[in-house]
Amino acid sequence: MTPTPPDTQLVLLLFRLISGALLLGILAVLFIALWRDFRSAVEKTSVQRRIYGKLIEVIENDDGFQETAVSHPLLPLTSIGRAPTNTIPLDDDFASGEHALLALREGQWWLEDRKSRNGTTINELPIGDPVIVTDGDVIGVGNRRFRIHLE
């Protein structure tokens, strides 16, 4: 091979540097895009995990409803029932396996009865179609009562 002239060598050196820079550029683009993707995945999970409020178990007495120390976190989809797969599993003989569902839709909380045997109540009134619930409402599933606390 003939020795390369000095100016060609200079151009080749320049090409080498740009080629290295391009590789680093590709690495940087990949890294930033991965980071963004990772952030959005974290955001997605944390939105799903965010607690929107809680359901506090209450017991009925002469003055109305008395709050107990037991509470459950409220998620955008909170299912209540006797089956252990529910978000809030209940050990209650009058609750069905999949009894009721609380869902956040279009900024509103909806309570839905999932064709349970004994029905679901809101403020002691049985519900048929899904209803919108608000802060302070008392939800009844089987023998249990829960007050909804939104945050």
């Binding site: 080498r16 080629s19 391009l22 590789l23 690495l27 990949l30 895009a33 993707d37 839709r105 900024g107």
Partner: protein, 438 residues
């Protein structure tokens, strides 16, 4: 943020990625390839201009592939395709530089591979069909293996060289390449079917692995041993066994299987070391290549020298001397890369391989057992193959003689790996894109 819009939101992000990230990555890759083509022509003026033809074909493949993928599978992972194209384009340039005779063929293979990848990714029922015909695949694969053992040959025509190819006239192909995917499909679907039972048994019998999970491990071990004994193909045997061991471990969650399997593998490896000269040579050359630097360990020593002379930025394309290494365009292509692109090139390549496997694994998180295990198997297959050969060239592990995915010369390997990427892309588009009967 509303709960219902989350899904739509992440799809929106993906679409954004496709519109911006993919063209950006492909554009940067093109700039890199074109720059290196120019540098190659400048550094070696006697060379013909076929390197530009290669870059042009690569660009066409990249654009056509990108457009078709966007049309058929809009929600697939935005990283996998451009990174794969980057690696294979780089591979083509290296082959053109070190072994120009092979470059034209490899370019044709790349065009075919991209077409097959798009076809695989754009076939919604494929995953379901793969599950349905798993035994056909298994026995088809075993028949291929037997055919290779019986009728195999070597394109180099040297007597005593490992006969791993089947020939059809002038056309050679290596059945062990498609066999890898076929066996991953079979094992993934077998384990997905047994998945529930395996978990129950694990709960019932505690830590003792049952035949249901030990069976496939032994089967795959037997298969790997057959490959090793009859074909002396250390690389394929190692890949088979490691991938399947990982898959069984992922499906069962039993660490004992991993430990037991590793002991089996080591036992087979030790026996092979004692019995077969090929294996002994590889291990000896790995432990201390300098004893026979110009004898049996010539290849690995030359490779180490090439890697060392690369430095940080490399010698520059066409300016190193990687052609001292025998069969540089196939198993040792990574040594050429290390010499002419240096540490920066090595890190970029390793990162790209890790990225593809990682995205493949990431895609499986929300899938059902069969597609999830399939995705794990394919990602691990790629990762292990990359690790074995790159580690072999850098003397981290004994040399196993497998191809560097997407980069090495070899039609069977390139096509198989692109089909693998096609499957991975299909899996990455989410559960809806898999067309499982409801």
């Amino acid at each position: 943020m509303r709960a219902g819009s989350l899904e739509a939101d992440s799809f929106e992000k993906r679409r954004w990625h496709h519109r911006h990230l993919e063209p950006l990555l492909l554009g940067l890759s093109f700039a890199f390839l074109a720059l290196n083509a120019a540098a190659l022509s400048l550094a070696q003026p006697d060379r013909d201009r076929s390197v530009w033809l290669i870059v042009a074909v690569w660009l066409t493949c990249a654009i056509v592939g990108s457009v078709l993928l966007r049309r058929t599978l809009a929600h697939c992972d935005p990283f996998i395709f451009p990174v794969t194209m980057f690696l294979s384009g780089w591979g083509l340039i290296i082959i053109e530089r070190v072994a120009p005779n092979f470059a034209t063929r490899q370019t044709i293979w790349l065009a075919l591979a991209v077409i097959l990848m798009v076809a695989t990714a754009g076939f919604p029922r494929l995953i379901v069909l793969l599950r349905q015909y798993r035994y056909t695949l298994l026995f088809g694969g075993l028949a291929l293996l037997l055919a290779t053992i019986r009728f195999g040959s070597n394109p180099s025509g040297i007597d005593g060289a490992p006969a791993l190819w089947l020939s059809l006239g002038d056309f050679y192909f290596q059945p062990s390449e498609p066999l890898k995917i076929m066996l991953v499909v079979f094992l993934a679907s077998y384990l997905a079917e047994q998945y529930a039972v395996v978990r129950v048994e694990h709960a019932a019998f505690g830590k003792t692995p049952t035949p249901r999970v030990v069976g496939p491990v032994l089967l795959m071990w037997g298969l790997s041993v057959i490959v090793l004994v009859w074909q002396r193909d250390l690389g394929t045997a190692a890949i088979f066994f490691l991938v399947f061991l990982t898959l069984v471990y992922v499906a069962s969650g039993q660490l004992r299987l991993l430990i037991g399997g590793s002991i089996l593998a080591l036992a087979a490896g030790a026996a092979a070391y004692i019995l077969f000269g090929v294996v002994r040579l590889r291990v000896d050359a790995w432990l201390n290549p300098w004893l026979e630097a110009d004898g049996r360990a010539y290849q690995i020593v030359q490779s180490l020298i090439a890697v060392a002379s690369g430095g940080i930025l490399g010698q520059g394309i066409g300016q190193g001397s990687p052609t001292y290494i025998p069969v540089i365009h196939s198993d040792f292509i990574f040594a050429a890369l290390a010499e002419e692109w240096g540490l920066v090139g090595v890190i970029t390549t390793l990162f790209c391989f890790a990225l593809i496997s990682m995205r493949g694994l990431r895609a499986t998180v929300e899938l059902r057992p069969f597609p999830a295990l399939l995705g794990v198997g394919l990602s691990v297959l790629l990762a292990i193959q990359g690790f074995l050969i790159i580690g072999g060239v850098l003397k981290v592990v004994p040399l196993t003689g497998v191809t560097v995915p997407f980069m090495s010369y070899g039609g069977s390997s390139l096509i198989t790996n692109f089909v693998l990427i096609g499957l991975m892309l299909r899996l990455s588009a989410g559960e809806q894109a898999l067309a499982f009967p409801a």
